[in-house]
Amino acid sequence: MTDRRRVLGPADAVPFTLDNIKPTEVEQKSLDIGSIFVKTGVVENANGSAYLELDDIKIVAIVHGPRPMRGLFTTSAILNVDTKFLPVSLCDIESKSAVVSSTQLTQYIRSASTTQSSSLQKNVSSYVHTSLLPSILVEKYPKSTIDVSISVLSSSNNTKTTVAAAVSCAGAALADSGLECTDIVTAGSVLLDENKATVSPSRAPTSEIDGVVSYMAASKKIVGMWIEGGNVSEKQMEEIFDKTEEMAREIRGVMHGVLLEQ
């Protein structure tokens, strides 16, 4: 029997030892967006789950639902998104190598997780919520909730790329869950320099424009965007859309293959 009121750890969890790590088939594609690995159905006691790696980024997304909702009657499902940046995921590589002792590291993690993460987690949750909602046929699930929880195990120095990966990972988990969706949501991120656009950037922006745009690639719809860094001209906007759509399509292609293979 499992306690169904709260999300417990996976039923098939095993203690971590280095022996039981086996190399698995890696879906790797060499693109300008970096190498990507997606695996769905990673958590057994969830309706749907996905694990995504994009360069340094490692994200797990879990979908529970439809779950009965007590209280008010609703004609369609309510989507909840919860994002957690694991404390370690917020240390960038430089500061990790700078701290020597474990107490220093613990202190660093503690300060990082209290200051940055809480507002960041909220922003990412609300962005993922905005992106996913149009794809789910919520009217098919009255009186229920759909809970998506995203754990960022390791993040990139560029927040937008991390967010793009979180959206794509959650999209894959939704597709894996069997909940009816009109499309798989994937996202692309871009960093606009004076004269160059970098897709899936891995460095933090200084004064440049950077953004993430979510797509329902098969139905050619934009479902969310988050662009920061000053005034964006029309030409720059087009550039952002072109590059992010290309990346979103690329990821969508990988997801299609992965979902049908498993």
Partner: protein, 285 residues
């Protein structure tokens, strides 16, 4: 070209394809308006198309009646199909590019009960006015609310796979339904049977732990679906006697224990009704 396997968002076919075949959305599919190159096949700028909303195998099942209906109204040479998406099984070759044609009704995975659906539920609480139940299965669709603890993709080892299986284990059955974490339902005393509705005594119709077949009459309030057993084929399917043995129905309001021979009162579901219907239908054909 209809794909053999799809993920959400993939276009399966136009509603009316080039050869005049008609397609209807079934389980795991929806209708969407497409534009541009996808619609060009139909010779229009916009066309209605069937798109997938689930991951799995495309199964086409022919629709006989509507084909005849169409022949009368319009001169169409094509046939009619309902497009369903079925969960992929192990033996399927996902590289296959042709859809499966089958007349077997596919089973969807996470469907919630709708008004009119037949469901199987376990009685969790009994009062003189109503019986509270927990909905386990929607007939023809599979389990409901086996979410946390058992996903649709879950491996059922160690977790209840079949929600009805613990009709066989008394203790577990009791615990599970007492949790009340699933989708709940209420059978009011006036919805128990079709006749003498005012004289229903709930304690002579159900007991906690019974497995009941019922029909959804309303989505109800936030907490419960409203159910009815006011039909011959609806009522208690499985019940345990005082000593814990599974009982069998002797008539519509009596069940007997095979060991002690003692009888208990229940509002029994007639297990025969449907089969008789099916036989009559076959004879008519």
């Amino acid at each position: 070209m209809i794909p053999g396997f799809v993920t959400p968002g993939i276009l399966i076919s136009l509603v009316v394809d080039r050869d005049g075949n008609k397609f209807y959305p079934g389980i795991g599919t929806a209708v969407r308006v497409v534009e541009g190159s996808e619609a060009k096949v139909a010779g229009k700028s916009q066309a209605k198309a069937i798109v997938a909303t689930a991951t799995g195998k495309v199964v086409l099942s022919e629709r006989q009646e509507s084909a005849e209906h169409n022949d009368k109204s319009r001169d169409t040479k094509g046939s009619c199909y309902t497009v369903n998406i079925v969960k992929k099984t192990k033996g399927d070759d996902s590289s296959s590019t042709t859809p499966t044609t089958s007349h077997v009704s596919p089973s969807a995975s996470s469907g919630l009960p709708k008004v009119g659906d037949y469901i199987l539920a376990r009685v969790s609480k009994l009062t003189s006015k109503q019986a509270n139940v927990e909905i386990l299965v929607v007939e023809g669709q599979g389990g409901v609310g086996q979410d946390a603890g058992l996903g649709l993709n879950g491996n059922e080892n160690g977790i209840h796979s079949n929600p009805l299986s613990n009709a066989g284990s008394l203790v577990e059955g009791a615990i599970r339904s007492d949790l009340g974490e699933g989708f709940g339902g209420i059978i009011r005393s006036i919805d128990v049977r079709a006749t003498e509705r005012d004289k229903v005594k709930m304690e002579l119709c159900f007991k906690p732990g019974d497995i009941v077949r019922a029909q959804v009459i309303s989505l109800g309030d936030g907490a419960n679906y409203y159910l009815s057993t006011a039909k011959n084929e609806l009522g208690v399917l499985f019940a345990r006697s005082k000593i814990g043995e599974l009982m069998y129905a002797t008539d519509w309001q009596t069940m007997a224990c095979p060991v002690t021979g003692l009888t208990e009162e229940r509002k029994c579901a007639s297990p025969y009704k449907q089969e008789v219907k099916a036989e009559v239908k076959e004879e008519a054909k």
